[in-house]
């Protein structure tokens, strides 16, 4: 994984935005090498984000390519109102939700598998004390959040986004971002008692 791209503060701060804009210009001229460069640069950040939203690796992988097809066809629609990375994450978010919805419809109609049970299968969180166990519990706890709540949690805590950036990515008012986070915190707090173990 490209640690140089992931996990730093702010989506916009993670990459050289001027370089990304230059890549988009080349892509607009039909330069496939530029598309490959952008793809390689953003593959893992997009994949992780879309996996965290959909909880399905196959859907997340498809979504990355869907995002890049949008970029290939409509790179000129990048208006410069946000960073390229914020723009890409926004496209990815919408693709992920659509893909998840389509999968849910297909699953409801054709499969005998209970989608929610499949996606959110879980065991009651147990009391654990070390960080590795906390990660496992977190993985389980995230299943209980809605895709929209997971997106806000992931963008805040992994990608270091400000609430304004998140609002731009998920295309909603900042108050909605804060509300989603508030509910996500409440759910995680119930599910992850280990979070509070060091609290005074």
């Amino acid at each position: 994984m490209d640690e140089g791209v992931q996990g730093q503060s702010g989506v916009g701060a993670r990459t050289d935005d001027a370089a990304d804009v230059a890549l988009l210009k080349r892509i607009g001229l039909g330069d496939r090498a530029a598309l490959s460069e952008l793809y390689t640069r953003y593959y893992h950040p997009l994949l992780r984000f879309m996996y965290r939203v959909t909880r399905r690796l196959d859907l997340a992988q498809e979504c990355v390519n869907d995002v890049m097809m949008v970029v290939w066809r409509n790179s000129q629609s990048f208006g410069g109102r946000s960073s390229v990375s914020t723009w890409l994450m926004g496209i990815g978010y919408r693709k992920a939700l659509k893909s998840l919805e389509a999968y849910r419809r297909w699953s409801d109609r054709f499969a005998s598998v209970d989608f929610d049970a499949f996606i959110e299968r879980s065991e009651p969180p147990a009391e654990h004390s070390d960080d590795a166990d906390l990660r496992d519990l977190l993985e389980e706890g995230m299943r209980h959040l809605s895709p929209e709540q997971r997106a806000v949690v992931e963008l805040t805590y992994f990608y270091g986004c400000s609430y304004e950036e998140i609002a731009a990515i998920v295309v909603c008012p900042v108050n909605t971002v804060k509300t989603r986070m508030f509910h996500a915190r409440a759910k995680l707090k119930d599910l992850l008692p280990a979070l509070g173990k060091d609290a005074p």
Partner: protein
């Protein structure tokens, strides 16, 4: 005097996740920090959120190579480009165009017949793609189909234990091509791993990667 007004409790409580990730603008950050210093509820919550942030950041990474996805994207672009090429002008009047195409087709069929006669064992060069025909699959050493109930975190954990990396797939059947030790695993090592993986409850199928050369 800093001149920064202290924010009220409700506002700060909402902002704590972004105080924890360091993304608040200076004015909000200063106002929130001022409140947190005097509010035990927010201090405790901030500490919990910092632990949550660390836990999220230390979640396992996805060991999936970008190469397979990029390869699929390139093929999709090729197909689109082929569709967009201008079609030859259509001329509906008379039989001349039909005769011309018929003549070309006859020559083509005859040429194909000669080819088949000369090379009866031509390997599969059909126009369809399977997992095995992908360039990444050529480098895959093991084909794996995971149990449908296996979570991705479990898949990642499993791949980590065998130093494996997904380089192709999933196919429509959910088959992944996996490379071991960056492709440097010996046949003996690969066989041993297949045996081990085949008995793993998270795996529905494990076998030698199916490549053109293995046919």
């Amino acid at each position: 005097m800093t001149g920064r007004p202290e924010l009220d409790h409700t506002t700060v409580y909402e902002l704590l996740p972004w105080l924890a990730n360091g993304s608040l603008a200076a004015a909000e950050r200063d106002g929130a920090e001022l409140h947190v210093r005097s509010c035990i509820v927010c201090r405790r919550e901030l500490k919990e959120l910092e632990r949550l942030r660390l836990a999220v950041r230390s979640q396992p990474t996805l060991h999936v190579s970008a190469e397979g996805g990029l390869d699929r994207l390139q093929r999709q672009l090729d197909r689109e480009a082929a569709k967009q090429r201008p079609a030859p002008p259509r001329r509906d009047a008379g039989y001349a165009p039909f005769l011309r195409y018929a003549a070309v087709a006859s020559v083509g069929v005859a040429f194909l017949g000669v080819l088949l006669w000369l090379a009866p064992n031509v390997p599969n060069q059909a126009g369809y793609n399977t997992l095995a025909t992908h360039s990444d699959a050529q480098r895959a050493q093991i084909d794996l189909i995971f149990d449908q109930q296996t979570a991705v975190a479990d898949i990642q954990a499993l791949l980590q234990t065998v130093d494996g990396e997904i380089v192709a797939g999933p196919s429509e059947l959910g088959r992944y091509g996996v490379r071991i030790h960056g492709g440097s695993a010996t046949d003996t090592e690969v066989n041993a791993l297949i045996d081990k993986l085949a008995h793993d409850p998270r795996v529905r199928f494990a076998g030698r990667a199916f490549t053109e050369s293995s046919q």
